[in-house]
Amino acid sequence: MRIVCPFCGERELGEFTYLGDAKPMRPEAGASEDEVFDYVYLRDNAAGQTSEHWYHGGGCRAWLKVTRNTLTHEISAVEPAAGVGARQVAK
């Protein structure tokens, strides 16, 4: 598996660290216990296409959003995760 970083180009997997599914969004401060429980502990754990967060610690140190197939490890898209990096790319 190699990841094509939008800032650094194609790099080997060892440069990256995995966080997990990009779908769960932190609930608002006043959210119910159920919403927080769901965010912290429950996962779709999909077999197939997933969107997930990776960190390019061995390169540009940007957070990336990677679209990857968990059945084949095939990567179909890599974009900067929401934040400063994404704004840089959008310029």
Partner: protein, 417 residues
């Protein structure tokens, strides 16, 4: 059939051509009292304990491929009961005691070998942590010995003791730990369960659950037709989220790939199971002579049963740090299995919110050693509708109530357990 020295001699006289099948490959009936999804070690052990301990013999085990084709055939065959937290300590010792009598119980040679498991420590802090774990084990009646450097040198003289960064200072030894022949465990449980009337149904993939008007599970849809069931138990670690999703459940589990490795065969070298405490590397030697070893999971979600190069490199670095001479040994095979990584690193054996559906999941990368214990307590849950006392903490709702069993203290990040 009963295996003994006499059956072996009889078969030898006819050139080993007249052995009967070890177990019966069944075709599905319309209905069973209990249907177990998953023909791995845990599913087959559950079926055997249901039939032998709890008197429930109208049982089917459904397997989508062939029995033992998942993680039961992909592990590093280590058995041990050296856990430190309440919930785990007692459960894994229950399992260890069942390993010790398994071959007599099943009338099957599973090559259970109590050759010892030693966890090496490399710092004062790690020694203290191991001393604490050893004390926890001994208080609970489990054997544990804290070895100093001299004792480790006597036992395993070939280690690189003077590694500048990670000098070996000693180890925590469980002499009753060891290894077992993983395929024989599967075949042994299949043999003994089949003898008691359990139907083992292969090439039978579950594609959905049959529910009544109240939502209770009353059977399963499979690739070989509909099968009715009084109760359905899931023992499909690696694919738990996928099967649970068919019943509308989301689990506190991620599926990750763990790799394992075997070297070419060499003469007897490694006395038991050894783990390198400064990295993550564990190794034993099979009876055929190959070094069987592994390390961390790859760290990303996967259902692919194969891993990537960075972890291979990391595992081999651990091996080289511990015993540099294995750099001369060639790697023979390498493979990956899919782990049910739970949010606290401990398993789940519980009823689900869906009536009639029971869950055995979240084994992370420690499921093999748990095989007999898991089967025993899951059979108890299915038969009695209440948890066995040694599995009472493996609740599905512990992530909501906060009663986590987090042996490594990593929090809700499955790839760190």
């Amino acid at each position: 059939m009963k295996y003994s020295i006499f059956s072996l001699a009889r078969a030898a006289l006819s050139g080993h051509k007249n052995w009967q099948r070890t177990w019966r490959d069944a075709t599905p009936k319309d209905r069973y009292d209990v249907v177990i999804i998953g023909g791995g070690g845990h599913g087959l052990a559950t079926a055997w304990f249901l039939a032998s301990e709890y008197g429930i013999k109208n049982v089917a085990v459904l397997e989508k491929g062939w029995i033992g084709s998942g993680n039961a055939g992909r592990n590093t065959t280590i058995i041990r009961s050296n856990y430190g937290l309440p919930g785990n300590t007692g459960f894994y010792e229950l399992s260890m005691k069942l390993w010790e009598r398994m071959e007599q119980d099943l009338n099957y040679n599973a090559m259970v070998s109590q050759r010892g498991v030693i966890n090496l420590y490399h710092s004062d802090a790690q020694r203290d942590a191991y001393a604490r774990r050893g004390n926890t084990m001994r208080i609970n009646g489990i054997d544990a010995e804290l070895l100093d450097l001299a004792a480790v040198k006597k036992m395993i003289p070939f280690l690189n003791f003077d590694n500048a960064r990670f000098p070996v200072q000693g180890g925590l030894l469980q002499r009753r730990g060891g290894t077992a022949r993983h395929d024989a465990v599967v075949w042994g449980y299949a043999h003994a369960a089949s003898e008691l009337g359990v139907d083992i149904i292969q090439n039978c993939e579950v594609t959905g659950f049959v529910r009544d008007a109240n939502g209770k599970v009353t059977g399963v849809e499979t690739s070989r037709g509909k099968i009715g069931a009084g109760k359905v138990g899931m023992a499909v670690a690696g694919s738990s989220s996928r099967v649970a999703a068919m019943a509308g459940l989301r689990l506190p589990i991620e599926s990750h790939v763990l790799q394992a490795f075997v070297s070419e065969a060499i003469k007897p070298l490694i006395p038991g199971v050894m783990t390198f405490g400064a990295g993550h590397f564990y190794v034993s030697q099979s009876d055929k002579g190959g070094l069987v070893f592994g390390g961390d999971i790859d760290g990303y979600n996967s259902y692919a049963q194969r891993g990537n190069m960075p972890v291979m490199e990391d595992v081999c670095e651990g091996g080289m740090a511990l015993m540099p001479m294995i750099g001369r040994v060639r790697l023979l095979r390498q493979w990956g299995g899919i782990m049910d990584m739970s949010m606290d690193g401990s398993p789940i054996i519980d009823k689900t919110p869906v009536d009639g559906l029971y869950l055995n999941a979240g084994w992370c990368y420690g499921g093999f050693k748990a095989t007999p214990g898991s089967g025993f307590v899951f059979a108890h849950l299915l038969a009695r509708d209440e948890s066995h006392e040694e599995a009472a903490r493996f609740r599905l709702d512990r992530f909501r109530t906060g009663a986590m069993i987090d042996e490594k203290g990593q929090g809700a990040q499955p790839n760190l357990h």
